[in-house]
């Protein structure tokens, strides 16, 4: 297997995710063993309510794992202190921005917070990283615009740029394509692909755009009620994983085109 030769950024060991309550644990998924390599673009797909968000929350250490471990750079995430974790992992959430009165530059510069001094002064290096992040996402021309002046598509680029400025090995995005039109969905995922290749960062995103993910991702993680599968899109198609993803009374996966078709 290739797995042994690649540089692993994130790895899970027999991970169980779910919610812990006083009486009993509600397990959402168990025996999860996945590895994310350096410079890979990985798509996390699965139906609504299957636990994609819980999975991401567990990987980012915002929620406790029921059992098993998550390692980032060979170190258990639960042993990182907050600031150290912020220097290896950046996150792009789905939630709307609270303050849209920030300029694009100011917002992207906030990504440098884990590195700046007590009052948040930007050093030469910080400025370089911020400007580089703006260039990589093609938003240098928007630099002085306020966030409320931007479209949803532009705003998403700004948020990705902010994560880049944070300069972490791993970037995790929670449904980065929601609220976007078809063109911008493709644009955003294509951008992520480009960033993973050019910067060598590992990028993991959850999405409902399975057809786009199949075309663009190096690897995919498919969440199903019983288990979690992770492999390259081609192998997953060959194994027929996508045809079991949804009940086949309404839509069916077409292995030839790599997309879903509505039953006529």
């Amino acid at each position: 297997m290739k797995v042994h030769t690649k540089h692993i950024i994130l790895k899970t060991e027999d991970l169980s995710i779910g919610y812990r309550s006083k009486k009993n644990d509600h397990v959402i998924s168990k025996h999860i063993n996945i590895t994310l390599g350096k410079g890979e673009l990985i798509g996390l797909v699965g139906g609504n309510g299957i636990g994609k968000s819980t999975m991401l929350r567990t990987l980012t250490n915002t929620q406790m794992a029921l059992s098993g471990h998550v390692f980032i750079n060979d170190k258990d995430v639960s042993t990182y202190d907050a600031l150290a974790l912020a220097q290896v992992l950046s996150i792009v959430f789905t939630e709307k921005l609270t303050s849209k009165n920030l300029s694009v530059f100011e917002l992207v510069a906030l990504g440098r917070q884990p590195y700046t001094n007590w009052i948040g002064t930007l050093s030469e290096i910080d400025l370089q990283k911020v400007n580089h992040a703006l260039e990589l996402t093609n938003i240098t021309s928007l630099k002085h615009k306020k966030c409320f002046e931007l479209s949803d598509g532009q705003l998403q680029k700004v948020m990705i740029s902010r994560a880049l400025a944070q300069d972490t090995d791993l970037i995790i995005l929670d449904e980065p394509t929601t609220h976007l039109d078809m063109y911008h969905k493709a644009y955003t995922l294509k951008l992520l692909k480009k960033l993973a290749k050019e910067t060598g960062k590992t990028i993991l995103f959850s999405s409902h755009e399975i057809d786009l993910a199949i075309q663009l991702c190096d690897n995919m993680i498919v969440m199903m009620p019983e288990h979690v599968v992770s492999d390259s899109p081609c192998n997953l198609i060959q194994q027929g994983v996508f045809s079991t993803l949804f009940p086949d009374d309404l839509i069916q996966f077409d292995a030839e085109t790599g997309s879903f078709r509505v039953n006529k």
Partner: protein, 342 residues
């Protein structure tokens, strides 16, 4: 930030404005004192002894109190609006003023219930200050204890409001059983007052104010991070609980002492941050915080000058003036700029 240069002009203008307001404030009052008399009294020996006495022991401490009150309320309003991401939040959302009111109500209104001797010893200036401090501290402490059990920042806001209505109810019951004279004294406290503070009191006030100010300055980075929301703040390595505690502590020190020494002064804390945001058009706290300090001081000095009614013996309640002056300014700015910056 790259556009920081452009704020320099605004800061210089505001500082000059502040200086002018300060001079005008100490020049005007019930006794007419010429400008040279004012300068003599501040910087040296005055030619007229009573002028010197009025300026040094009455007008200067009052002007400095106005500075501390205006800037302090502005800062605490800004901190609360950012922490709760709510443009309606002010310095008193966590029940600080209602706690102080409860303390003062117990002393002023409750004196009848606790007997005559108590009433005499407990209604001096210091006793009101101590009662207000204790009241606001205890209510805030309860809010903090309860809210340490909740994870959601918004829940703290609601808990604060609930505590405010509990204390409001107790004050209501106390008022019901009070004499007209006691009620009047309590109502007068509620009007707020910047005067009547000795240098010693101003000193204590300034000391606690400084601690609150330093705490808010150290929170600038956290405040900017919080603009992205709790989740992003956490993902950027911010210790959310600790920053939240520092911000609340700074607010309670500032707003708590202000209420203790000058009464529950309304409006300024809510309006000044909005005014500053509208004028400076930024959310960056490195610029907002100093701007709020300048704006708060200027507005408070203007309000105090108006409340004084130059060359007359009347002093209007400062609480009424702050709203009468401040509200139209905010409405005018909102109508002109057409949207609420936040």
């Amino acid at each position: 930030m790259p556009d920081q240069q452009s704020y320099h002009k605004a800061f210089i203008t505001l500082s000059v404005l502040l200086l002018c307001c300060f001079i005008i404030n100490i020049s005007l009052g019930s006794v007419s004192i010429p400008l040279y008399g004012v300068f003599e009294s501040v910087f040296g020996t005055p030619s007229n002894e009573s002028w010197g006495y009025i300026i040094q022991n009455y007008r200067l401490p009052k002007a400095i109190t106005a500075l501390l009150v205006g800037s302090g309320l502005g800062i605490s309003g800004l901190l609360m609006q950012t922490l709760f991401r709510n443009p309606l939040a002010g310095p008193f959302v966590l029940g600080i003023s209602s706690g102080a009111s409860l303390g003062v109500a117990l002393v002023v209104l409750g004196s009848g219930l606790f007997g005559g001797a108590f009433a005499v010893t407990m209604t001096s200036k210091w006793s009101v200050v101590i009662a207000a401090s204790l009241g606001s501290f205890l209510v805030l402490l309860s809010v903090l204890i309860v809210s340490s059990r909740v994870r959601d920042t918004m829940a703290i806001l609601i808990i604060g409001l609930m505590f405010a209505s509990i204390t409001g109810a107790i004050v209501g019951v106390l008022s019901y059983f009070s004499s007209a004279e006691q009620l009047q004294r309590y109502v007068f406290w509620g009007f707020g007052s910047l005067g009547n503070l000795s240098w010693q009191e101003v000193g204590v006030f300034a000391l606690i104010y400084s601690v609150g100010l330093v705490l808010s300055l150290t929170s600038i980075k956290a405040l900017n991070t919080l603009l992205l929301g709790d989740n992003y703040a956490k993902s950027l390595g911010l210790n959310l609980k600790q920053s939240r505690l520092f911000i609340i502590l700074a607010t309670s020190l500032l707003a708590g002492t202000i209420t203790a020494f000058a009464g529950p002064i309304a409006f300024i804390g809510l309006a000044i941050p909005h005014l500053t945001r509208l004028v400076f058009n930024t959310s960056n706290h490195k610029i907002l915080l100093p701007a709020v300090i300048l704006f708060g001081s200027v507005i408070m000095l203007i309000c105090d000058t108006i409340a004084q009614i130059p060359n007359s013996d009347y002093t209007l309640p400062i609480n009424a003036i702050t709203s009468l002056v401040g509200a139209p300014i905010v409405i005018w700015l909102l109508v002109r700029k057409r949207n609420l910056m936040f």
